[in-house]
Subunit: 211 residues, 3 copies
Amino acid sequence: MLAESPLWLILDLIGTFAFALNGALTAVRAARLDIVGVLALGMFTGLGGGTIRDILLDALPPATFVDWRYLAVAAAGGVIAFALSRFLDRLAKTINVLDAIGLSVFAVLGAYKALDMGFGVTQAVIVGAITAVGGGTIRDVMIGRIPTVLRSELYAIPALIGAGCAAAANSFGYQGTFAALGAALVCFAIRVVGMRFDLHAPQPPGRSGPA
Amino acid sequence: MLAESPLWLILDLIGTFAFALNGALTAVRAARLDIVGVLALGMFTGLGGGTIRDILLDALPPATFVDWRYLAVAAAGGVIAFALSRFLDRLAKTINVLDAIGLSVFAVLGAYKALDMGFGVTQAVIVGAITAVGGGTIRDVMIGRIPTVLRSELYAIPALIGAGCAAAANSFGYQGTFAALGAALVCFAIRVVGMRFDLHAPQPPGRSGPA
Amino acid sequence: MLAESPLWLILDLIGTFAFALNGALTAVRAARLDIVGVLALGMFTGLGGGTIRDILLDALPPATFVDWRYLAVAAAGGVIAFALSRFLDRLAKTINVLDAIGLSVFAVLGAYKALDMGFGVTQAVIVGAITAVGGGTIRDVMIGRIPTVLRSELYAIPALIGAGCAAAANSFGYQGTFAALGAALVCFAIRVVGMRFDLHAPQPPGRSGPA
């Protein structure tokens, strides 16, 4: 299992931390929450995608809930965001890069977990993308906001492509760390380029006037 | 298992398609979403009810997630809604009828699945109704709208009655396709009559003034 | 299993009823819902926390869904709230006390269920708190409101402390009814004192100006 190798465990924990930090910061900015709210939203953002993944794959109880390291890292992200939210505003670029790492790692590991459990390529791609965007979606719904992943930016699309590359590599017999790293890099590159040039996914024809 | 007979499979796929199409159209109208958002909301609307059903019945992974035909039909509904949303506005009546077919089929098949797995009549009725209205409820929550099923129209009530008829028929030993078709027809008829005459479920006494 | 002793079953049913009643009343006040909406939100509030608990603990189908007594008590709370919402406004204090009983019982029983199933102390505390606040959170999300538990009042904190006391007592070998009652009383006392003196959890530094 890829997720158990030290490199991927560390990447997965970095992603969880970045998602929790970013999720909690978004919550602090968008809504007046108390410490429970900030911590809870940080943890939902960091752990929510993996939880939905494990419900869909019938892999309950969720791996991130059982393993205290994920709980600890997600809680740490929430606490740091609560205490240092104003300071962290200045680190927005660094946090966005960490978030892009999380997106890439979650998409690829989610897809591999589905494949390891015997699901098909379509299911693996969907599960990879849901693992990557699920946490942020739960956060946005809880603070009364239409999930940004549904509205703007290239966020779900790099996740879908990264999960797709992982599933394709797997079909051709490339299952090791290098194939997974390559798939994650594809996702990461598209996400970073999308942020840099402010790219967006297409909107429905004839309805794309200003909001 | 009723859901495996060709007639019911086709009806179930028609319902999934209609829900996905209608869900995606609602999303296009109510919120500015990009193609990812429209497609995701179409798929949630088409597949969400069955997913909640399978969580409650401990039948994970969700049947509609494992079977590529449901995924394909739901994705097709989302893509068509994205591409043709303005044209489809003119077909509102046809889409509402397809949606009523989906409501009826989902309610009856959800109830039968619960009964087949050994759950009681109460559980079967609840699960049937949740299968029928769950997808639309997820969609509404995600676009920041109070679920229409909680507020207006006869939508959950025909589903409850249809599931109730299916469970009652089953208790009296009628388990075949005709009993199920009859239960679905009851649900369909109430829903269509409710739409035609704009009927609503009662509101709390003394609080029913204009919002 | 603690939840099967008559005392705890009765307390658990009282909590379910109070949550359903309170949840449905909140729904009536906050949003124009019809009878389906009020009843559904009452049942979600009463049964939602236990459902999330059983998903996280891999104890599906949810205990409260399988046992008709929980369904009946939650439905009764919703129906009473629908019919008598204006009269019940005068009983707000009594209902708040019943709600605090529910909070305490749900937190302690949730934690014990996790421990009984072999989960660790951290997981037990998280699950206890989620059991206690999950139903109200689902209700708030469905009526388009940022969950009050994330924003104000001492609500999640007593639940966390109550679940923590239960888990601590369990680690020291106190597993009987008295230890559980003590943990529930701690939660109840903090909740009631918090309501009486209008205490709130801390907000992020430098962001606590008026909303």
